[in-house]
């Protein structure tokens, strides 16, 4: 390499700090996904409710959330929620809440598409053998829908993982925030950012690649 003297040894010195930050990132990922998927599923159900007042409210909520840049939403929640609701949230809690709700809008659309893709006849076949609505949902609608939405579901997961770096803007000690602090401290931003990028690749690529493999298995077996 010309012109720049790469020095990863400096980064290695701070491996414990990065590991701690990585743990925070992992917690953010898991909790944000939990919030996003569960709220998203509920939103999808409300969106598909027969009562128009419910479905239309859910639709507008989804559209608003999809239209707001996630960084803006995050910072807005961080500063406005304490004023509006008189609750005190840590940066970490704010991150999980804002990014979870933000991704819920996208998950909701994915789930809605999946549920709507189920042929009426499959549901009627469940009814005909005497299944209750809950059994039909659990045994037929959710698994068949999940098979069909698998690719966008995994892509959304990758986005959730990447979006966790946004909470560095509100001083949560996850990978990017600690990385930026280390960069200033060590004057080695290129090495540190490279390592952070590699860590994210190491988290996301196994997920997407195994999802690809699983998807082709589903395809060859069930369709």
């Amino acid at each position: 390499m010309t012109g720049y003297d790469w020095d990863f040894a400096t980064v290695w010195q701070y491996r414990a700090l990065l590991a701690t930050a990585g743990l925070v990132t992992l917690q953010l990922i898991v909790l944000t996904m939990l919030v996003g998927i569960s709220v998203g599923f509920l939103l999808a159900l409300v969106r598909l409710a027969k009562r128009r007042i419910f479905s239309i409210s859910a639709m507008w909520l989804v559209e608003f959330l999809r239209a707001v840049p996630p960084l803006v939403l995050l910072i807005w929640v961080y500063y406005c929620i304490p004023i509006l609701l008189d609750v005190r949230l840590s940066g970490f809690q704010t991150g999980v809440l804002a990014l979870g709700i933000y991704s819920a809008a996208f998950y909701a659309e994915i789930f809605r598409a999946g549920i709507q893709s189920i042929e009426k006849g499959q549901i009627e076949a469940g009814m005909a053998v005497g299944m209750t609505n809950g059994q039909i949902m659990r045994r037929i609608v959710v698994p068949v829908a999940f098979m069909r939405i698998f690719p966008p579901f995994i892509s959304q997961g990758a986005l959730v993982i990447k979006n966790t770096v946004l909470v560095s803007a509100i001083a949560v000690g996850e990978l990017l925030y600690e990385g930026q602090r280390l960069s200033i401290h060590t004057f080695r931003p290129l090495e540190i950012l490279t390592v952070i990028a590699l860590i994210f690749i190491a988290i996301i690529m196994p997920l997407t690649l195994s999802a690809n493999a699983l998807e082709s298995r589903i395809r060859s077996r069930y369709s």
Binding site: E124, G130, M131
Partner: protein, 278 residues
């Protein structure tokens, strides 16, 4: 209207009175009344839009009747009589429980794509009847053997032909040990060369004494395998009697006209011969 069935001494399995179904302003079914007796095989014929499928779907409450009563083995279906003579709809779970007493075979099979052939058949046994899996599998394998698909138990529906899928659909309905089997145009979605294998299975069930109602366009099948045929015209039961009557010269003019039109239009269809059905 003629009374059908030979075993009139026993009470009917299914008793339908003044069954009505409207969709908005459209009255699809206008006060249909009939009884179905044990071991009877009843065909329902009629033009598209005559209310055949709606009638069948009301019988297992996939459609909620607008008016009228359905009694299966003496149990009032779907509604509870209140003191004032008012009828109230049963809860969803009670309706689900009642539905399990009927078996339904769909025109487009409606197998669950994420379940193997065997799993499709035993799903209701395990989830609804809560029969232990090994026992359910035994029942499932036996039924799949009966419909000639024992070698396909581990296949997935996507790998089966239409005729095979429909035979799985029949096995799935039989697994619940229904008091009556409802078949909604079971061969209409099939390629002509696959119709025979499905009708053969239905014919065998008829021989074994399964009580069945079949909505069908297969006139020869209705003629040969049914004990009784109901002709629906614009939501009304226009004729009801043994095939010899319905397809004979004494049927109502309307019935004769329908049958004549149908037979001439479908003269070229491949239908199994009597020897193949029975």
């Amino acid at each position: 209207m003629q009374s059908g069935g030979s075993e009139t001494a026993a009470p009917p399995v299914l008793s339908v009175r003044n069954l009505r179904k409207t969709f908005g302003d459209l009255e699809v079914l206008k006060r249909a009344s009939f009884d179905i007796y044990q071991k009877e095989v009843v065909g329902i014929i009629g033009a598209s839009g005559s209310g055949k499928s709606t009638l069948l779907r009301c019988l297992n409450l996939l459609e909620t009747p607008t008016d009228g009563t359905i009694d299966l083995q003496g149990e009032r279906f779907g509604f509870r009589q209140r003191s004032e003579g008012e009828m109230t709809l049963l809860s969803a779970s009670e309706i689900a429980r009642q539905r399990a007493k009927t078996g339904m075979v769909f025109q487009s099979f409606n197998l669950w794509p994420h379940r193997s052939v065997l799993e499709n058949v035993i799903e209701g046994l395990i989830i609804v009847k809560r029969i232990p899996r090994p026992e359910a599998q035994e029942i499932g394998v036996r039924l799949l053997e009966k419909v000639g698909l024992k070698d396909k138990i581990d296949s997935y529906p996507a790998r089966l032909s239409g005729g095979q899928q429909q035979r799985v659909g029949i096995a799935r309905a039989l697994a619940m040990d229904p008091a009556i089997l409802l078949l909604d145009e079971p061969t209409s979605a099939l390629d002509p060369e696959l119709v025979g294998e499905v009708l053969n299975v239905i014919g065998e069930l008829a021989e074994e004494g399964m009580t069945m109602i079949i909505v069908t366009h297969e006139m020869r099948f209705a003629h040969e395998a049914c004990d009784r045929v109901i002709f629906l015209h614009e939501g009304l039961i226009a004729d009801d009697g043994p095939p010899s009557y319905i397809f004979g010269p004494c049927a109502s003019e309307r019935t004769q006209a329908f049958v004549a039109r149908y037979v001439s239009r479908h003269a070229g269809d491949s239908m199994p011969r009597k020897s193949e059905i029975r």
